[in-house]
Amino acid sequence: MRRSFNLFLIILLLTGCVQQSILDDIQMVTIIGYDLPDEDKEDGLIKGIAVAPQYLADGKIENNVFVETAKLSKEIRSQYNSKSPKPIVSGKLEVAMFSREIAETEGVTGLVDTLHRDPSIGSRVFLGIANGDTEELLSTNYGNVDTGTYFQDILKHNSKHGMLPETNLHSFLYSYYSEGSDPFLPILDRDGDKVKITGIGLLDGGKMVSELDADNLFTFKILQEKFSSNDSFSVNLDQDKYAAIYNIASKRKIEYNSREANKIKIRGSILGVIKEYSGKALTPEALKEIEETMEKDIEKRGTKMIQSFQELGIDPISLGNAVRSKTRGEFDRKKWIDEYKNMDISFDMNVKITESGIIE
């Protein structure tokens, strides 16, 4: 009995090990990018760019860039491995970027499915659309940082405190599969040795059909979700008079009644603090003026935005879900989009300024 037990233990130790991935013997890809290959120079259907940081013992970080083209996105990985001294793993992937071309022509569905299927990829992976050349965007060295973490930090703090709505893999999949909502992705571009968020790409299914520029993100976020941020929004009162308002908590309420099925009213409200004011004195009247100007400005932008959504037949602010939650019976997406296009959607904004800084 004892001997057989010992034998068992030896077998266990010899054969029991599963494939190891020892931390310093692997290449952890932190950011991955997809682009369409240049038809003249490269063959294959898709080009994949993977960046894996190499941590050196003296604290420096080198970014190893792997570029491959292949027919299937999954083939790319084995091709990376043939070039890499250490096996490539994707468990620490932070960001996945798709080129504008892919997003506009093929759509991102297939590529996202690859990410979704792989159990080693987390739900907090950020997705984004690369403006310009993806390879160039990813292979630029942004200082002594790992490129993936650098991109992640930009997206993370901007969606936590800034004007960007949350766009990680889970949120994307939620809206993608949801009947009453359409996904959107941030657009990033290189600006010298920095990366900049230039806007939001709006998707219908997996394809990008339209985009919003950075100026409209504030309004979009109000329409999209409840948030509070440290970003500011500036209002032009007159030609030389303007005010900047910050530390804003906003709320959004969708009013819909199934009896008046053709009407949706979105009520937004903002609490803000004045950070900058170029006028003379901040009198109550001046405050009132700022509030009203801001209300009007946001309402105008919002209404325009909604109208363009309706024309495109996309629903990134998930009005569909709001309607579905108040409609009995089967909810059909096609029917809903048809209805949505002709709906009377109004946007009403309410701005309240609570503080005006530490001086009057």
């Binding site: 130790l13 991935s21 931390l23 310093d24 940081p53 790992d146 973490t149």
Partner: protein, 473 residues
């Protein structure tokens, strides 16, 4: 016996009558021998041994013909008096020399506050230390002799009417079942009467503090004292008792509970943290947050060994240091500790054999294992780490859980004197939790632990002990 140089035998002829004296000079106290025995024997002629018994002012004189008894007694320091050469009858006069260390400070279980007395090697002194603190006639001391060669006196102490009869009988029965030649220390008894002798876990607590013994006696536990051993054994016990220091009862309950929680955390930390390091670095790189990743990777960049070998190497060197420190005299031991800790640690990091992160982890977990108040338990805890390491290498975190399950099942199966070892956690006895993982105020400790199944469950009336709970006027 005549071969022994310290065996004395001579004939004394006085007043016409002669008698023989036999004794071991190394076992016999000289002052009573000279002052009482020889003085009385030489004063007037001896006619019978009965006279010896009557005249000599020493109690416990035995008159016997039994050769076996005589042999036994002379070996324990009796003086043998025989009248005529042809008669076998002898008088045995107890005259043992009682040489023992005087009562000194506890060294293993030292506490800042509280009694500074510790048990010594003399059984009688030890019983005296207990009786002094517990002057009631219910305190029973059942005595028996163990060991074919050593003939060690062992005493089972318990409070009659409090301690469960069954527990006492279990102890007595198990002691009687011991058939070995030598019982040199109570630790030997502990190994021999444990419920599961193949378990690395001690199933009886040993202590050198008489006050702790008294306290557990009052709870209704059974205590075993053995001659020649400064350690008393306490049973039945539970796992959590090994992590409660006696000092916990000397300080406020909040402080005591905190330190108990810290100790339990330290145990878990000590067992699990190196295996978790091995598991995450070998398999689960996904778990490590990005910020920590660069630190870990760059610290391991130059190390040729896989994490498991790295960890085993460091763990073994810590064990070596501890073992070397324990075998050497105190002062040299300290030096070894410092030299080993600093020199070997720094050198192995610089040589690229281990990463500095692991060095910190291993050192901390070694430190954590020493917070356990009972020395035996801290040995067990350090040992437990190794199977965890192997399982962590095999299946990562999954292996750790499986090893942990083995540990839990093992602990579930353990018993201390037939009582469940994991009580009060399993079987869950909420009432006993008052003095387990945390220690509640003394006014809550009005009942004895259910685990002991004591005959008298109530220690004191809680209501009379309760403080008045009202606002000051």
């Amino acid at each position: 016996m005549k071969d022994s140089g310290d065996f004395l035998h001579f004939e004394s002829k006085q007043h016409g009558s002669s008698f023989f004296l036999y004794y071991f000079k190394t076992l016999v106290h000289e002052t009573p021998l000279n002052e009482h025995i020889l003085r009385y024997l030489s004063r007037e002629p001896l006619t019978s041994l009965k006279e010896v018994k009557d005249k000599i002012p020493i109690t416990g004189i035995i008159i016997t013909e039994d050769l076996k008894t005589i042999c036994e007694k002379v070996m324990t320091g009796y003086v043998i008096v025989r009248l005529h050469d042809n008669s076998v009858e002898c008088a045995l006069i107890p005259c043992q020399v009682k040489k023992a260390r005087s009562v000194s400070q506890p060294e293993v279980e030292f506490t800042v506050v509280g009694s500074k007395e510790a048990f010594v090697e003399s059984l009688d002194t030890n019983i005296h230390l207990v009786r002094k603190r517990l002057p009631v006639h219910e305190l029973k001391a059942f005595e028996l002799t163990l060991g074919k060669l050593t003939n060690t006196k062992v005493v089972v102490m318990y409070l009659d009417g409090v301690a469960n009869e069954e527990n006492v009988n279990t102890v007595k029965q198990r002691l009687k079942d011991i058939h070995v030649d030598q019982v040199v220390d109570s630790s030997v008894i502990m190994q021999l009467i444990s419920d599961n002798r193949n378990s690395p876990f001690p199933q009886l607590v040993d202590t050198e503090r008489p006050d702790r013994v008294v306290s557990v006696l009052c709870e209704g536990k059974v205590v075993i004292l053995s001659d020649g051993s400064p350690q008393a054994l306490i049973g039945p016990t539970t796992l959590v008792e090994f992590f409660s220091a006696f000092e916990d009862y000397f300080v406020n309950w909040i402080v005591a509970s905190t330190s108990r929680l810290i100790r339990l955390f330290a145990v878990l930390f000590s067992i699990l943290v190196t295996p978790i390091y091995v598991a995450t670095l070998t398999y689960h790189y996904e778990l490590i947050p990005s910020d920590l990743l660069s630190t870990l990777v760059s610290s391991r960049q130059r190390i040729p060994l896989p994490p498991i070998l790295e960890a085993i190497f460091l763990e073994l060197s810590i064990e070596l240091l501890r073992e070397a420190g324990a075998r050497l005299p105190t002062k040299v031991g300290q030096t070894i500790g410092i030299v080993g800790g600093i020199v070997i640690g720094t050198a192995s990091v610089e040589a690229g054999l281990t990463s500095n992160v692991l060095l910190i982890i291993v050192a901390l977990s070694a430190l954590a294992s020493f917070t356990t108040p009972v020395y035996r338990m801290s040995n067990t805890i350090r040992l437990t780490r190794f199977p965890f390491l192997i399982f962590a290498h095999l299946w990562g975190l999954l292996g750790i859980t499986i090893c942990f399950s083995f540990l839990i099942v093992h602990l579930l199966k353990l018993k201390s004197l037939g009582r469940p070892f994991l009580e009060p956690i399993y079987p869950l006895r909420v009432q006993d939790l008052k003095d387990a993982i945390i220690r509640l105020p003394l006014s809550f400790q009005s009942t004895r632990p259910i685990q002991l199944q004591t005959e008298d469950t109530r220690r004191f009336n809680r209501r009379t002990q309760k403080e008045k709970n009202d606002f000051h006027e």
